[in-house]
Symmetry: D2
Subunit: 214 residues, 4 copies
């Protein structure tokens, strides 16, 4: 099985992006039983989709997981929904700050992650790693990458399964944001290994109660 | 202009649902310059869509706003996205608790609210009422009602504009949930009046920065 | 019974202080069965204690409740502890920002509120008002006023019973601080009436479980 | 320099207590340049003070730091205040649940930590570890241990300096409490080493702004 994992450049004034640190460490370790490829994505509405398409064309993965920073969240959170909307509360790394714009003109309003997110969360919790399913990836570049990934899977890369993981600040980042939760790099990397092995091993999700009342 | 506003039955063990209290009070007051109709919706995955369709057929509104309780949120929150997914963390009032089921077989993955949500939030804040745009209405009956409303607008009721408002616990509810925020009934009703007058007055939204990084 | 209630000047950039608004409205209504006096306190480490002593000398109350703003809290919170420490995260209204200084040289490290705080919280919740006992009033002017009040009761004003109530932002304030909880002025005033009538009627507190593990 | 560090037994249904895990790991590593002693404390209002006194008599430390679990907090939090109050929201490990009782009959209402808490927090943040000063250690056994430690220092063990550190859930605990923050054991142990070396090296605290408005 060929697996692509991406992490983002630092943005929003942070000196590091935990997603890039984590996927690079994962790349150094490798994933037994699979061909693992790690690529950086720019935090840019225009360049992230290009970089993603280029990586898919080059690597032809069976499975792709984009990883991004969610400063303020406490858990590994597997996104379930990507929406066809760019609405940026801050500028991206190119200085672009789109407002209420579709990501793909004429594309569907949303895609659902094509990964067994509940099974992955159950496995993470079982392994002692805090995790949840999330129902919104926001409307910044993380959501854009997830949307483009699933749109590419639905159009030019049939058979590709993909999704998105949001991760907390690293402790060194939270140290500069009093009160914010964090997660150590090793826990994140362990989580990535587990998510990828669950997703590689099964296509159908666990049928367990979940979701949110609001 | 003909306007339909709905509120839900109490659920999840609460003796009241602030949405039903608020829309009933709004109904008693009326909305100058428009024909306002108020209807209750059952907190039921199967019966809420039926009641909604029946109300639309009977009343033929130009504008419809469904209102629901978001216990734990602090603000009036205008939902932007409804997803084609029923995933219930608790049973509805019929004892049904669907897992990972589409609301409408073959329907689009999501609808966006057809209301000027940013303009409404700006007007609410200007009027001294705490408000935000929300990117997830959950996967329970509130999201289901919003999805069905927008699906009906897209299919059998062309010209209908609609959306969803989540509101906090009432103080009397938060009094039984220590630490939870609340909003008084009068603030909610004032907010409803303002949202409806903004939505009645304009179709296009304000072009201001918004959204969320995650 | 003679009762003094105080509220603070706006601080920290806020145009209003909900505590001053609430005690003034309470003063307009009066409290049946008691002589109620309402006084403003400056948000100043040096002038608040002077104003408090002057009011006590002038009015000789049996009961005194200082009220202050706790932006970010969701409930009426009755403070249990005042500490002999001035440690200001922001400047007060005189531009003073003391660091790690005792409020009263040689005074006890702390005073406990001389009010039935658990009984008041139980009555508030019973009446449908969100309320809790708090174990820290901070180290700014609110804590200073509470400490000085209880120190004056312990020294020059024997028989005086006193305490402190922190209240949330008003809705109009929270409207400028997205995500923050609020409480309407009427709920706060109803809460004040109830707290004062409970405190006037009984000196001993309810013996119910409470407190915090951390 | 002789240093005592204590951690607590698991309580409240948790299978582990991160404080005991962390101080044991610290004990295995040792602290270069000092004689480090690690002792467990029972989560018991009656037995914790006895165990603490016994350890002080046996070991005669110059510095003592008690460590406890604060499930729900995101940071290493150095407590500044211990109050003479037992008010237990849950039963301790002996089944005792005291309500509104002094810890030491006739003792002062509170003690302040006799450690440079701001200097330690600054060093922790500088080292990339999330940390804050806290103004309340609660009213359960953690606060009781801190109060007794500082009371013993003020009475029978002159010259002893002491304080209290609250730490977050471990990831494996937060995995069972969705939404709660956590901190890895290695980060906690690194934090402990740093706190102890700062406290061993200096008695006076950093003069920097701090505290809380409420």
């Amino acid at each position: 099985m060929r697996i692509l994992v991406t992490g983002f450049d630092p943005f929003g004034g942070e000196p590091v992006n935990p997603s890039l640190e984590a996927v690079r460490e994962l790349g150094r370790r490798g994933l037994p039983g699979s061909e693992l490829y790690v690529r950086p994505l720019p935090t840019s509405f225009s360049r992230a989709p290009q970089a993603l398409r280029a990586a898919l064309e080059e690597l032809r993965p069976d499975l792709a997981l984009c990883v991004g920073q969610a400063g303020g969240r406490a858990e590994l959170s597997l996104e379930r929904v990507a929406v066809n909307l760019a609405d940026a509360p801050i500028a991206d790394n190119d200085g672009d700050q789109p407002t209420d714009r579709p990501l793909v003109e004429g594309g569907p309003n949303a895609y659902f992650a094509a990964l067994p997110v509940k099974a992955a969360v159950a496995a993470l919790r079982e392994a002692g790693l805090p995790a949840s399913v999330s129902l919104s990836a926001g409307t910044f570049v993380c959501n854009a990458a997830m949307y483009h990934l699933l749109h590419l899977a639905a159009t030019d890369f049939p058979g590709l399964r993909g999704g998105f993981l949001h991760i907390p600040f690293l402790p060194e980042q939270a140290a500069r944001h009093p009160g914010r939760p964090s997660m150590g790099l090793l826990e994140v990397v362990r989580g990535l290994e587990l998510i990828l092995s669950v997703c590689a091993a099964q296509e159908t999700d666990l049928e367990v109660a979940g979701g949110a009342t609001h």
